[in-house]
């Protein structure tokens, strides 16, 4: 079976070159972000005023900013808050949302109705607005941002999996499992939940994008994680305040970094959908 699995994967990879490339890019980015202290040429906050605003060159591949800080280093370090908040919120939100939604859809009743109203409320908030309200009350931190995004994803995921569970619980094999005396938890985990797997995975990949864009937007607006540690959003904000013409590289590299990440998640999501759901 593992051999067949591998050959199936290889065949799929040949059909989805874009998806494979996206996965490769994301893994590289993640690795670079984790290893930033080891691979970055300099300390992210090391200032070198005489060499400020240098264009990209041999010494500084991406150039330097207005304090003479190495831009390549800051782009590498800047990936950390985005990817960390993204990964943590996707993980938490997916697990919570899939379990809650599947359980509610299978059991129905008061619990289901209550959860549905709660999901309605969370879904009524644009994600960025929910984040803005939260950082007003609590200072922005990795934990705060992760929590807000995880709550938003939980609601979306619960809605998705509930619908799946509602459809599947009518199936004969679920009735069979029930009449054989299977424990409800076992029915949910073994017979209902796997049906939501594809949809949940694709949605989680898509939400990664939302999470990163929200983190970058908050930092751009000056409401994200506090300085001086670099984040893509704050680098964009610094570049766009008067340096677009004078030092365009300050904006170009963070823009490319965010675009590359977001595009990769889009292509990975599309490839996953095609790979896991041959009907579409």
């Amino acid at each position: 079976m593992p051999r067949r699995g591998v050959s199936r994967l290889l065949r799929a990879a040949r059909r989805q070159p874009l998806g494979v490339a996206a996965l490769f890019v994301l893994l590289t980015l993640g690795l670079l972000a984790i290893l930033a202290p080891a691979v970055a040429p300099q300390h992210p906050n090391a200032q070198d005023i005489p060499n400020r605003l240098l264009p990209p060159g041999a010494d500084h591949w991406f150039g330097t900013d207005r304090f003479g800080r190495d831009l390549l280093t800051r782009v590498l370090y800047g990936a950390r808050p985005s990817l960390l908040v993204g990964a943590a919120s996707v993980l938490l939100g997916t697990v919570a949302g899939v379990l809650l939604g599947t359980w509610a859809g299978y059991r129905g009743g008061i619990l289901d109705r209550l959860l549905q109203r709660l999901a309605d409320v969370v879904l009524a908030f644009p994600v960025l607005v929910l984040a803005l309200v939260t950082v007003t009350a609590l200072r922005p931190s990795v934990v705060t941002l992760t929590a807000v995004l995880a709550v938003a994803l939980t609601a979306q995921m619960a809605r998705l999996c509930r619908t799946q569970a509602l459809i599947v619980r009518q199936e004969a094999y679920v009735a069979a499992a029930r009449s054989l005396g299977a424990h409800p938890a076992r029915i949910v985990l073994r017979h209902i939940l796997p049906n939501s797997f594809t949809a949940a995975l694709v949605h989680a990949t898509g939400f990664f994008e939302t999470a990163i864009v929200t983190e970058v937007s908050l930092s751009f607006l000056g409401l994200g994680l506090p300085p001086p540690d670099p984040s893509w959003g704050r680098m964009l904000a610094e570049a766009s305040h008067g340096f677009l013409e004078a030092a365009p590289w300050l904006a170009v590299f963070p823009v490319l970094a965010v675009a590359l990440t977001v595009f990769s998640f889009t292509f990975l999501g599309d490839a996953l959908r095609d790979f896991l759901d041959p009907r579409s």
Binding site: V121, V129, V133, T136, A137, L223, S240, P248, A251, T266
Partner: protein, 324 residues
Amino acid sequence: MLRYLTLRLALTLPTLLLASLVVFGVLRVLPGDIVHVILGASGEGIIDPVQAERIREHLGLNAPLHQQYLSWLLSLVDGTFGGRSLDSHQPVGALIGSQIPVTFLLTVYALAFAVLVFVPLGAQAALHRGRWPDTLLRALAVAGQAIPSLLLALGLLLGLALLFRWSPPLIYTRLTEDPLRHIQVMLLPALALGWGLGAQLLRMTRSSLLDVLGQDYIRTARSKGLPPSITLWRHAMRNALISVTSLAGVQAGALLGGVVVLEAVFGLPGIGRGLVQAVATRDYPVVQTTAFLLVVIALLLNLALDILHGYIDPRIAQGRAPDA
């Protein structure tokens, strides 16, 4: 149709009420004394107990929670909208009143751009299925869908600054004051905001139009000799648009998030930039009312689209499944 309308409204109201409770709750009940946060924003360090008490009094924070909540709700109805801004001391109602037209125009321009440009493009893609216009337009759609509006805006600004040494005016000008300057100010944010939605509309229009064009009644319309344009717009598009409007509803929240960011990028004095500034200065009455207002707008947009949906497809309003 009337029953459908009432039902939709009846479902929206409790959600709105709960949403107001969430906004209020997040700002009041979450750990952390809001007064300390407000005072902390204007400089770290010692907090003057007299000043803290004055702010507490001004915000009515000494009243029991349920009373605070109810008086805020009442203020939304009687037009005082939660009192005055802590920052500018203007009444919140006046503040928001001056911001709404800007946000409204930006959203309308963006929607108009998305719908008027990208829906016809989607139709063209469907009509030229598999040939080069289709390939080109689909590539455009994928790129447009993936790129966040913040990046698109910065990319546009960067490109225009480098190529043409042009940047948009920094000061907002009203349409009635100077239409030409107004267009210069609003053009880029409207493009950046409409692009992402437009790309999705293009994709959706293409695929649902392809579905519809394969149906029997289209063949009938063609074979009885109707001109292709009438077949397309009166018979095919009407049905294709059903799934397109349902998509637009899903996107309402994302659109408003984009409004917030783009108003801040381009310095447009709308609700979004107002919210961002209020969060930055911990201007708590403004955050509370503005955030709730954005939720109300998102819900109303959804409601409007649902109603449009019911109008385009009467089966939905009658409670029958569209696929039956």
